[in-house]
């Protein structure tokens, strides 16, 4: 009967250990956060940018291009300098009761220059020209509802699906990755597709496009690629030896790994037609002692019982007469009548 006791290291349920664990983690985090290497990997977050109320300006008839002067003729739309703001705010900001949030000073940094929130900044891999799009699409087609935005929670940067949908309708000759991306190409692997990508891509693809555009495998791969690959490309350790002998060991360790590809009843189906490697010629011959190879110690699950489900269970073997003791040598009396191809050493295993 298996013990129900908890494995020692699982005693994290012990409150004292939990406290020690939590304190250790906090201490480790504090130590790491002061480490220069950690700061190099995870640089401290930039000061929170202060939101800008676009709607307060657009309702007064100010167009996007009035402040973002490059919006129609340059690659970058650009941000207004403080001097430009002050052409209106020089007088407006003198009002005594005006909240600081409505003054240009609210956006000033220590150097006196304005610090704009760059919510729409694209990654270095993206090449986008505002001038190329001017007159073809409105600003708000990409910067969704920016004219009505009060600056509290601006919409995030536009998703790539919006770009591709528009290009499909209005720029059918500009569909390739290189139109918008500097380095990305449909025939070139992204950087994260090297190394252990074959092991790690599953969670990424399952998180889906909703989490990140990069999770949209179908940008480069056909939807059916998953199936084909999972049925044709073997993991590196799936050698012939693995196929014939050790895959059972690995399945015993982590069957969930098998289920990545073997999603149907292939275990049963294959073992119904394929005998184990050990079942070669001579198997089951008298004195071959095949029972001992797998049955010691006896177990009611795994090994032989996997296939030989109808074999009478050894645990139901008839007991020895009560006057037999474990010290007795069975073959002394039973040598001629022993049923099993066994020398009797382990009769006690079954006949208690």
């Amino acid at each position: 009967m298996p013990s129900e006791s908890i494995v020692p290291w699982m005693s994290w349920r012990n409150p004292g250990l939990v406290l020690v664990g939590v304190l250790s983690l906090v201490g480790l985090a504090a130590f790491l956060s002061s480490c220069s290497l950690f700061q190099a990997v995870f640089p401290p977050a930039a000061p929170t940018p202060r939101p800008f109320n676009h709607e307060a300006h657009t309702v007064r008839g100010i167009a996007c291009g009035d402040c973002h002067e490059g919006a129609e003729k340059e690659v970058h739309a650009g941000m207004p300098a403080k001097a430009f703001c002050m052409t209106c705010h020089e007088e407006l900001d003198k009002e005594k009761d005006k909240p600081i949030e409505k003054k240009v000073a609210w956006f000033q940094g220590d150097d006196g220059e304005v610090r704009w929130a760059d919510f729409g900044k694209q990654k270095d891999d993206i090449k986008f020209s505002h001038a190329a799009h001017a007159g073809k699409v409105s600003c708000t087609a990409c910067h969704l509802d920016m004219d009505k935005n009060t600056g509290l929670v601006p919409h995030g940067p536009q998703r790539m699906t919006a770009c591709t949908a528009c290009h499909q309708q209005n720029a059918p000759t500009k569909q390739d990755c290189s139109v918008c991306h500097v380095a990305t190409d449909r025939l070139k692997k992204p950087e994260n597709h090297f190394q252990l990508w074959t092991k790690n891509h599953g969670p990424c693809s399952r998180e889906g496009v909703g989490v990140a555009t990069a999770n949209n495998c179908s940008l480069c791969h056909q939807p059916e690629t998953c199936v084909t690959c999972h049925h044709t490309v073997l993991p590196q350790d799936h050698t012939d030896f693995w196929r014939l002998r050790t895959h059972g060991l690995a399945a015993g360790l982590d069957r969930s790994r098998c289920q990545t590809c073997h999603t149907t009843d292939s275990c049963v189906a294959c073992h119904q037609v394929a005998a184990p490697l050990s079942h070669r010629g001579g198997w089951n011959a008298p004195l071959e002692q095949h029972c001992r190879n797998c049955h010691l110690p006896l177990q009611t699950s795994g090994s032989c019982a996997v296939c030989h489900r109808d074999t009478p269970g050894h645990l139901t073997s008839p007991p020895k007469p009560p006057w037999h003791t474990p010290q007795m040598v069975c073959t002394t009396c039973h040598a001629a009548t022993l049923k099993h191809p066994d020398n009797g050493d382990n009769c006690n295993s079954c006949h208690h």
């Binding site: 050790t246 015993g252 999603t263 189906a269 699950s301």
Partner: protein, 442 residues
């Protein structure tokens, strides 16, 4: 097949033959094309002492239409296999017995997916019918049936489906059925959050009896700055089945990613319907366990990177370790070197070590890729594996040495030919594999 491939090779190399067609424009394999896909045909010859096997395989994947603009789209993936030497009915032990030997024909076919999508309301409504794989559920389930997905605005999407589970090795789907639903909410359609609830019912009548399983899944995805968080909790028959939580931190500037994942299986999992667990009926019950793993990936410039993985699994209850329920630790390291010593050359090493109370094994492998020409890639690799099996009869050490060499020739932008030879020396004997294949994307 060989003749055809040799003929094709000759045609490609013979200067007197007609010139190759001009390169296809870059976007010809775009997902915007009305019909595209891949076709792969390969011949595989395997041999060992006293036995050999020859097989042909053909794989086809096909996608039709563009879901962004076409009313009807579809997908198909299928495989044909032919046993060319008739060894499928060998009596007794045969080292190349395969699943395809279950069928009495020399040719077997497998239809993985074949479905049509109708988009009557652009992206808002999707009607899918046919053989499909429900891959957004906690278990990927192949199904013959229908699915309806409705997007209520940008934030909410609802799905319902029903049909027959696809169990390819059962002679009849009698007694099988499945249905379910899912709801998804994106709190900020431009953001990284995703919340899902899923329900799946499967009725499966198989070799080991009738199983009726109800699975409910709840999942959360969130992201902030360099961090993404994923958690999934499932209930089976109303009881907690498992909990998976994963945190990923990515810093593209530092070319660094680390991922920590924990899995907790709450209760013993007994035999289920095949689509939910094809193993318990064979490998007996799965005991509850805690699994902690961490993997990290770091690049140093464009040409060197290293990946590391550590996993530790502990059974929740002591004394229940059996043949198919082990505690183990696993470590994997994989350094990669690219463009060294010259452009296009890549070298990768992998070391993988599993250790449990009953067995341990480790593998060490190395791969080298060298571009011989702009369109010709030579690859070679070797690996060594040592299996130390503390079986019930004592310690056993089995060694596997494998050597492989291959060539891939990109004949044009959409087609390639490849050949690979593998030699494996192991405790059973010497095994040789020759595979020649052709792939065409259209």
């Amino acid at each position: 097949m060989i003749t055809a491939l040799v003929f094709f090779l000759c045609v490609q190399e013979n200067p007197a033959s007609p010139p190759l067609p001009p390169p296809v424009p870059p976007d010809s394999t775009s997902f915007l094309d009305p019909m595209h896909g891949t076709l792969r045909a390969s011949y595989r010859y395997r041999a060992t002492s006293g036995a050999s096997d020859s097989d042909l395989y053909e794989f086809l994947t096909l996608s039709y239409g563009n879901p962004l603009k076409d009313l009807v789209t579809g997908g198909l993936s299928a495989r044909l296999a032919e046993d060319t030497d008739g060894n499928r009915n060998v009596q007794g032990y045969y080292p190349y017995t395969s699943l395809d030997d279950r069928y009495r024909s020399f040719a077997t076919q497998r239809l993985y997916t074949a479905y049509l999508d109708v988009h009557p309301d652009e992206e808002r409504l999707l009607l899918r019918g046919g053989r499909q794989i429900l891959d957004e559920f906690p278990e990927a389930v192949p199904m013959d049936g229908g699915l309806v997905r409705y997007r209520a605005g940008a934030a909410v999407s609802l799905s319902v489906f029903g049909g027959l589970p696809d169990n390819p090795y059962e002679p009849s789907p009698q007694g099988d059925s499945m249905y379910g639903a899912s709801a998804e909410w994106l709190p900020d359609p431009g953001g990284r959050g995703r919340y899902r609830v899923e329900y799946l019912h499967i009725r499966d009548e198989n070799l080991f009896g009738l199983h009726k399983d109800n699975l409910v899944g709840l999942s959360v995805d969130e992201g902030s700055g360099p961090f993404t968080f994923h958690a999934r909790y499932t209930l089976l028959e109303g009881e907690s089945r498992d909990l998976v939580a994963r945190v990923t931190a990515t810093d593209p500037e530092a070319e660094f990613q680390v991922q920590v994942q924990g899995t907790y299986v709450f209760h013993q999992i007994q035999a289920l319907s095949y689509p939910l667990d094809p193993y318990a009926s064979f490998m007996m019950n799965l005991e509850p366990y805690v699994d902690l793993s961490a993997n990290a990936s770091k690049s140093f410039g464009n040409d060197f990177s290293i990946d590391a993985l550590f996993t530790s699994r502990q059974l929740v209850r002591a004394g229940v370790e059996t043949t198919y329920n082990h505690e183990f630790k696993r470590v994997e390291l994989a350094p990669s070197l690219r463009n060294c010593p010259s452009d296009g050359v890549s070298i990768r090493l992998t070391w993988d070590h599993w250790n449990s109370s009953a067995t341990s094994f480790w593998t060490l492998g190395g791969d080298l890729s060298i571009p011989l020409h702009r369109d010709l890639l030579l690859s070679a690799g070797t690996s060594y594996a040592l299996y130390s099996i503390d079986a019930f009869t004592g310690e056993e050490h089995d060694r596997v040495r494998m050597y492989t060499i291959g060539l891939k020739w990109q004949t044009n932008r959409t087609s390639s030919i490849d050949a690979r030879f593998t030699l494996e020396e192991n405790a059973i004997g010497s095994f040789r594999i020759l595979e020649i294949g052709f792939r065409h994307a259209f």
